[in-house]
Structures are given as C-alpha cells and as structure tokens.
Amino acid sequence: MSTSSVEVVYRGIFQKTLAKNVCRGIVFAAKKDGRIGIAFGRYSDSPERNGIPAKQFAVVADTEEELEEHLSRYEPDNNDVTICADDTLCKGVESWAWYGLQPINKLLKPDGTLLVTSMRPADSLIRDIHRKAVPYNLATVKGTASFSGLWVYKDDHTDVRLLGALAKVAPHVVSLDAIIEGIGDSMKQASVRKAYDMVEPVPVAVDQGNDEVPYEFDLPGYTTMEECLVIRGMDKQQDVPGRDGGYVPARNPTFKKYATRTMRPVINFETCTKCTICWLQCPDTCFDVTPDDYYDANMEACCGCGVCEAVCPVDQCITMINEEAFTDNASQWEMWSKDKESYSKWLSEKISEQPARSHGFHHIGQYAEEIAHEST
C-alpha cells in the first residue's frame, strides 16, 4: 500500500503541453501497473503567462482512500520526484500568484529525486539550487529546454524521455514496462529506453548548493490590508542606493522577477547611443536611468522577454544571454563605471560563451530568423 507523487515545474504556456503529457503519461503508466492516479495543474497558475513558472502534478496510489488522502492538499508537498522542465528554474520558482521565491527542491521528500532537463553538469546546477535540510538526488535528462506555444506542440520526445528517466530514478512510481506499454510509437519507445539507460542520479548533501535565504514576504491580513480593493500606487521615484542622480521608476517592493527570466539582456555601454528606445519599449519598465543617462536593466524587474534586444537599433549593444551564465543580479552599469576594461572582458566572455537557448517570446522578424537558421 503506497502513494507517490510527482510535480512538474515548467515555464507557463511554452511548456504547458509538455508538463501535461508527462503527468498524463505517469497516470496512464500507473494504470498499466495496476494502480490509480490523477493528473492536475495548480489552479492559481491559470491563466498561464508566457514563461512564468507553473506546476502540474501526478499522484498515483494503490487505493482510492490513499489517493484521497494525498489529494486533500492543494499542492502535494512531499513529492517523490520533482521534474524541472527548464534548468533556469533551478534558481527557484516564482509563480504569478506571488509569494516569494520557492526553492526548486522545497516540496521534494527526503531522498527524493530532482530530475532536470539540462545540458549542464550536476555541479553547475547544484550551484543554482538552494540548499535543502535533508539529502536528495539530482538527475539530468540531457537536452535544452523544450519550448513550444499554447496551440502548437514541439514533439521532440522530451516528454517520453522524462518518463523513461522517471522509471529509472523512481521505479516505485511507475515501471519502465508500463511506460513502454503505454506508448505505441516505436521511435518514442526507443527514446524512453535510451533516457532510462543514460540517467545517472547523484546524491546531494545538505551542505551543497546555494546558501542564500530565498526571498519571501508575509501577506497582510484583513485588518492590515487596504480596504475597498484598493492598491496604492508607488511613489513616482525611488532613491537609487549609492547613486547620485539618475532615475529609478516606481516598482512594487515585494514583486521581484528573478525566476521568471530564462535569459537576460547584457548591455554594451560603449556602443549605446542613449536613444531611449529600450527604456521606452520595455513592457516591465525594468530600465533604471543612470546619472550619466545610460539605461541599466534592473534584474529585480526584468522578466527576460527580449523586447529590448529586438528594438535596439544599434548593432552589438543589447544581447540576450542564457540566465544560467549568471550567479547574481548586480547592476551592469555599476560594474562598467567602476572598471570599463574588466566589464568589456566580462561582456565579451558572456556573449561568446553563451549557452544556447530561446526565451520563447517571438518578436517581429525573430520567427523568420529562426526558420532561416533551422533550414541552413
């Protein structure tokens, strides 16, 4: 008699169908194993926003009673496996119904397994993952984040490869035979077996990982909240710590966007013409105006959509870079103004060593570029 659960953490819209396929695949396979299950999404993630972290779950059990017991929680909190469908989510999960930054391994049970789709080695991922008070395992399915849209699905076998890896790291959840049986297509069955054979979990100890305290805040109660559904506007301008002059637009102090990003803009201040277009066009008003009238993308406010890169009229000024290349959210302008030479070195390294990825947003001309790129 037992129950087990799997959570799939993914990028909203871009990976919605992927997450659904994985959760449904688990429930179908469990049925072949003679168990019962249910697959569901976290309701507060809906309607999903492009790239915003979201969750779906699969719970399987031997009996109806056990299943009910497990489902009597809004969000299963002792998962056998957490599947992370995009490795940039290893930095944490911030859903759009905001409650701070949730470590990616937070809802994993002791000795459970975090299964990540990534090209990165384990120690590189562990650098980003918050420390956990109990040991757990980390396993990867080799591959970049599989992104598609709301109405289309990129059938690149990521779903079945994750299921194959799952059967290896948690055979008590679903068996390999059941997964193979549930998949008719022989090519996909081969992908399942390959992933099963290749996945190698590594143990993660309590002293491994990012030791930062995850960002969190307390929600107010009905006696302390503003009445009449009023949300007060922020002051027009905020002081810039350590800066004399410049301009920081008003931002909600509790609304950060660290983990909503898959890529971030890096800015070459030497080529910048101060044309203001990035500042004007940024949908999240993420650019701070510096005392010398440059535009500095603030990483507390940037959601990584890439509009700035798309609208920048200057060649080699704004470049979107995979979020995995960064370990902090420091100001690029401050780094540049302190030491222009090292900044220039840092910038060219970031651009030349950039790990491949897409932020999933499509801007004018970008889709045509991608098609041209794929056909060559």
Binding site: Y43, S44, A97, Y99, L219, P220, G221, Y222, M225, E227, C228, L229, V230, I231, R232, G233
Partner: protein
C-alpha cells in the same frame, strides 16, 4: 395645433426652489418622493434605463432637470448593465450617484451589482419591485431586490411615500459612511407605492444639508492626484481577506444605521425605529411579520381583530440587510406564534418558505422559548392581499399558538386559485 414644448413645461422659480425653507407638503407618489430625495441629496450622476415601475422615478428626475430645478449628469444608458456600470465608476471617482431598476432589469445589471458591493461603492438605488419574467407581469414581488441579499448590498423596504423619501436620505448617509462604503437599495412595491400618491412632507435643502454630509471617499478616490488601482485580479491567497473585509463592513453598517436614525429623528421629528416597525406588539400573543406596503391591509386587519379582543400585533421589517436579528429576537421572544407573510418565493427552500420566513426562523432558533413560525406566501405578482386574507392567516397563527392542527413545516399559499 399642439403648443410648442416649452409652453407646456412647468414654470419654476429656480431661486425659490433652491432657497432654504421649512418643509412643504406635497401630494406625490413613492417614485416622486424618491426623486425629491435624489434632488435634495444633490446627486451628481444619475443613469436611467426604462422599465416599469422604476421608470416613473426617471421621469420625475428628468422633469426636474428640464425645469432647471436640479443639476446633475443624467445619462440614459443602452441597458441596465451599462446603467449600473456607469454609476459604479462615477462613485469610484467620488460622485454621489443614483440608479434604479425593476424585475429582470435589475437582474440584467447583476454583474455590475455584484462588483459594486465587492468594490465597496456607496451607490444608492431604487428598486421598483416587480415580478420577474416570465410571465411578463408588472405587479410587485420582492424576488428582484432579494436576489442581491448575499452580496453586501444593504436592502431596505418602505411602506409609504414619506418613508421612501426619508429612507433615501438615510441610505446616502449610511452607504457613504467610510465605516460602511456599501451600496444600498430601497425597495418600493410596484403600483402600491410607486404609482399611488399621498401627502408627503418634503424637507428644505438646508434641513437635508444639515443631515447629510458630502460624499467623501477619502484616499480611496480614483483621481490622478491619488494614484491607486481598484479591482485587481487576485487569487486564493487574497480572496478570503477581501470577503472578510466586506463582512466586517456589513457588520459595522448596523451601528451606523442606528446613528443615522437617531439623528434623523432629532432633526426631522420623524423616522421611527431603525430596522423594524412595531404595531400593537406590546401585549401581542401572536405576531404577523412582513415587508413593504403589505403593512396597510395587515394594520387594518390587526385593528379589526383587536376590536374582537384578539391579541395580535404586526412587525414590519424595514431593513432586510443588515438583517435585524437582535430586534426580531427581542420583539418576538414573548409571542407564542409568528406568521410570516412573504411577497416572494424561494422554490425548493426549507419548508418551501419565502426568503423572509427562512431568515426569521433562523434568527429565532437560538431563543430558549422560541415561538412557532408559520409561513405564508401571498400577494405575488401584485395580487391584492385583503384584510380577509390577513384574518385567515392570523387564524392559522393562533391555531399554531394553541396547539391546533397547523403545519409549521410547510408553507401556506394565501389567495391562490386551486
């Protein structure tokens, strides 16, 4: 040849109409009384969409505007939904507003009605009670106004044109109190009140100004100088707190209503008891309970039965929201049986009773010596409730009090053809 329109318009001395003076007496209908209150409250924005019997109010208001007696933004919307949405937004930017409808017109505005209460906007509305379609009937039933009973709307029922005018002034004062900030609907029975005229004391502007302070939304007012967002999208981590705030506002309304009636009684020398009216209740052994213009035939019947030595009294519920639980418990704890006459229905509900009977039964349940409750449905669709009907009802209530063969777990339909 017809005379030009300007020749038929009533000539009004604008200065005199606006000058402070003592009360005047006028022969007016309940709808006209409401329109006088709207003018005296100096309402800023009014929206209208015709539906009988509420439409009489919009006629009187537009006449006042045409005559130059009254200045406001008066907008005829393309439907009730827009009608209520417009005043909802006007209220958010700090305008005192008035609106109204009847029957299914009120229901067509339902989305706006829900959010008006949800956003804590102090709209005052007149509901000319009318049967819901189908059949397309004009007569009174209370189901239209009662449909918003769970949303935070305050609901008052009036019995006379005078009470309609007075209650509208009180409604503005209570709704716009920052402790409350909830909308209020004043229900006027179609035909019996909206279309019949009686002598009404119309107070002077000065008297009303002394009683009713200007609407001040404070720092909740939508204004470019006060940048706020209202009506955000929120999920399960916020909704319960928001509902609880509305619950607390609805609870606070009770004290604010009591204060307003105290002041009104002091300043105008009338107004009566907040929440309920007691008629011959002092030594009553059985009590009849109802709302609205039903009071007239019931009072006549009570007087008649009193002459025959029957100790019967009448208790008229003036405010359905907030529900006068404490007052009803106090007034009815001494009687042996209560007969509730609903001019509404709640199909499939407890004992198939109307809304008032079900609420009242629930209010009396905690009493150690609770009276028997016999429920009646009468007067639907504007059918007359005669004094004979009331005497018939009272006979059954006495029978219940004396242990007779009366079913207190079902509902009697009075005056229905079999």
């Amino acid at each position: 040849m017809n005379p030009p329109k300007s020749a038929t318009a009533k000539k009004v001395d604008v200065q005199a109409a606006r000058a402070p003076r003592s009360e005047s007496e006028e022969l007016i209908s309940g709808s006209e009384a409401i329109s006088h209150a709207v003018k005296l409250a100096d309402v800023d924005v009014i929206t209208a969409y015709p539906i009988r019997p509420y439409d009489t109010v919009m006629q009187y208001v537009s006449q006042m505007i045409a005559n130059g007696e009254f200045d406001c933004e008066y907008i005829v919307a393309e439907s009730e939904h827009s009608q209520f949405e417009i005043v909802k937004h006007a209220s958010a930017v700090g305008a005192r507003v008035f609106c109204g409808s009847s029957g299914v017109g009120w229901l067509y505005a339902f989305e706006a009605l829900a959010v008006t209460a949800g956003l804590r906007l102090p709209m005052v509305a007149m509901v000319g009670n009318r049967a819901l379609d189908d059949p397309g009937a004009f007569g009174v039933e209370h189901n239209d106004a009662l449909s918003v009973r769970d949303l935070g709307w305050m609901l008052a029922w009036v019995a006379t044109a005078q009470e309609a005018l007075d209650t509208a002034l009180i409604a503005y004062r209570v709704a716009e109190d920052s402790r409350v900030f909830l909308p209020c609907a004043i229900s006027c029975d179609g035909a019996f009140l909206t279309h019949s005229q009686s002598i009404v004391k119309v107070p002077s502007q000065q008297m009303v100004d002394n009683f009713l302070p200007p609407y001040d939304r404070g720092d909740k007012q939508l204004h470019p100088d006060n940048p706020i967002t209202v009506a955000p999208q929120a999920n399960e981590d916020w909704v319960m707190e928001i509902r609880r705030q509305n619950d607390m506002a609805a609870r606070r309304a009770r004290e604010v209503i009591i204060e307003a009636y105290d002041d009104f009684n002091n300043q105008f020398g009338r107004g009566g008891e907040p929440f309920i009216e007691r008629y011959m209740m002092e030594d009553a052994e059985v009590a009849l309970v109802g709302m609205g213009t039903l009071a007239m035939p019931v009072k006549v019947a009570v007087r008649k039965m009193r002459q025959e030595g029957k100790k019967v009294g009448f208790l008229r519920v003036r405010w359905f929201r907030p529900f006068p639980t404490i007052e009803l418990q106090g007034a009815l704890s001494g009687v042996h049986a209560v007969g509730v006459i609903d001019r509404d229905y709640s199909f499939g509900s407890t004992f198939h009773s109307g809304a008032l009977a079900n609420e009242l039964r629930s209010a009396l349940y905690p009493l150690a010596n609770r009276p028997k409750v016999v429920s009646f449905i009468a007067g639907l669709g504007g059918r007359e409730v005669s004094t004979d009907n009331v005497i018939d009802i009272t006979g059954r209530v006495f029978a219940a009090a004396n242990g007779g063969e009366i079913d207190d777990q079902d509902t009697y339909w009075i005056g229905v053809r079999e």
